[in-house]
Subunit: 369 residues, 2 copies
């Protein structure tokens, strides 16, 4: 969708298919002989709830981005508006395939996402790429970084790239990511690629919000999985050995066989679906169409068995209870009395001067007072 | 330690080394010509806190068993006494090796525990065998079952076998098991074998209360691990292929090699320790001394690195916070208002008529009112 008004003011030499990130604009000049005062636009346009909801539904990129910013805001005023907007768009959500993508640094996640995204867009899909990083206070993703990494993809009109939300509690970031998925779905994106940026808990978090979970690997010395957090292989619906090109192709094939062997020992991540290892090359494009074929097969099988729908419902319930439990814990651990006494109790526990049972009782009594 | 009073009243024909489960007693008769009224003992002796604590410390089996019963009781009066007893014995706890043992049904866990237990006792150790079954409301362990399964071991004076606590919440059962470990340690048992009886969560629960975690397997069709819950291999400090005897020996060796290969792909369960697969036979006794040797090596290495002590401290803190968080959740989910409205909210969530965020807010507001 293109903004005609915007286009009019672009210089003639703008790159073909330049996306909204192409910020150079020709400023409307004054008429000859009639000097005009150009007021710098210092105030962002004010939107009402309806503006947000309608803007998202007609895939207005500016409003889409601002809605997500609203969701990510920590201000309670913004959050209240965001919740109202989400309520309006709720009937238009859920109609995408949500795909989680994780992998060790250096596995070529970004190039793979770019290759897959471009392939999908070529085949008529609308693709949103989101990043989830629950540990984001340390390793913040940056929009510049993401756009640079996925340069070609970011120029596509049918693509929307959004970096990880800024720091917050694990639950907070998760909540934001989940709501961002809903907003992108309401805006008409039918494939949502969710990349894990962080390490540790993030894979589990992403698994809890996607339909299909992909683990990207590379061929190496046979100890590849050592870098992967325990349990990540077990939650993957497919392992993908990337960089299977040139001299690396043979090595990738050996690694694929090894991973297949490892998968053999594990329960499938999704009932009724056999998680397998595959090779691909984001550079040559080999194996990319097969990924999409596999994911479609997955959707077909799990939809037939009813698991697809059931998992989504479970995720929705789980999300609710996760939020509640996080809030309950917060109210305890952030209670001034608990904050004050906790170091002392911890010390006693570490020195084995007090029973855990006694410690728990003391803290709970203090909290309930 | 033998109770002399008890022994006096045993019949001459009692089996050698009969344990306390050998219940036949010679009843003190009346003197000739002087008929005596024998009052049936209908009331158990009443113990004070000091009696319990002292009884446990001098390894009085009757008091030990009754203290554990007290710990397992759901009555708040009993729990208060239990906590006092635990406080007294706390300085005498912690001096054992806590070993968790799990495995698929049919792997021969019980015979292995018996073989290992007998070996340890022969080498001067005092062994307590406990069972943990967090799912015990369904698959209750029974003392008869356990004693029957470990017949020889149960006859040893330096052994104490206690079945899984009766049903309760997961956290409740865990709490009881942890406290039972402490009581057994105070009673002088220097090796505690904790068998998981349940399935699912129980392995993780047991891992959180032991120093060393052993996974017992058997050789089969190559798909052995399919029956094992995801992630169990990853928390094991050693895999043991049992029943490596007779015709099965070769198959067991092949399985061992396969498991070793699988372990190769995983991070070690304990930093600084390489989890390996081994074979053994509980029937021939082959490989049993090597298990103990390995566990001692483990203790040596992890004690030197400081991880042994650190894990215990972490477990103690974790236990405290687990209890607190369970209590917080309980107070929410058992709140009358929440119980009343939850089915309705769940239904709305499943029908996607409400956002998880909204559902969580509504429930929390109701709870805090």
């Amino acid at each position: 969708m293109e903004d005609k008004t915007e286009k009019k003011y672009r210089p003639d030499w703008h790159p073909e298919n330049a996306g909204d990130e192409f910020a150079v604009r020709v400023v409307k000049g004054s008429e000859p002989g009639k000097p005009e005062i150009i007021k710098p636009e210092i105030k962002r346009r004010h939107y009402e709830i309806d503006d947000y909801a309608e803007g998202v539904l007609r895939n207005d990129r500016t409003i889409l981005a601002r809605t997500i910013t609203l969701i990510e805001s920590n201000s309670s005023k913004h959050q209240a508006i965001a919740e109202e907007v989400l309520k309006r768009i709720l009937p238009f959500t859920g109609k995408s395939l949500r795909i989680g993508i994780t992998g060790v640094p250096g596995a070529g996640k970004s190039t793979l996402i770019e290759a897959l995204g471009l392939y999908l867009i070529k085949n008529g899909h609308k693709v949103a790429v989101l990043a989830v990083d629950p540990s984001s206070s340390v390793t913040k993703g940056s929009i510049l970084g993401d756009k640079t990494r996925m340069e070609k993809l970011s120029r596509e009109q049918n693509c929307f790239i959004r970096p990880s939300p800024s720091s917050g509690t694990l639950g907070g970031v998760t909540k934001k990511s989940r709501e961002t998925i809903l907003v992108c779905e309401a805006a008409g994106f039918d494939v949502i690629l969710i990349e894990t940026v962080g390490v540790g808990q993030s894979e589990i978090t992403v698994r809890s919000m996607v339909d299909f979970f992909l683990l990207v690997m590379i061929a190496g010395a046979g100890d590849e999985l050592q870098g992967i957090k325990k349990g990540v292989i077990e939650i993957a619906d497919a392992l993908l050995v990337n960089k299977a090109d040139g001299e690396n192709k043979k090595k990738a094939e050996i690694a694929r066989a090894e991973y297949s062997n490892a998968l053999h020992y594990l329960q499938p991540a999704t009932p009724g679906w056999k998680s397998l290892a595959h090779t691909c090359s984001a550079v040559t494009g080999e194996g990319i169409p097969e990924i999409w074929e596999m994911i479609n097969k997955f959707k077909e099988i799990t939809s037939e068995s009813g698991f697809f729908e059931m998992r989504r419902k479970q995720q929705s319930l789980q999300w609710t209870f996760d939020m509640i439990e996080e809030e309950l814990k917060d109210s305890f651990y952030k209670h001034p009395k608990i904050i004050k006494i906790l170091p002392e109790i911890k010390e006693k526990l570490l020195q084995e001067k007090i029973l855990p049972t006694t410690a728990a009782d003391e803290l709970l009594n203090l909290f309930k007072e």
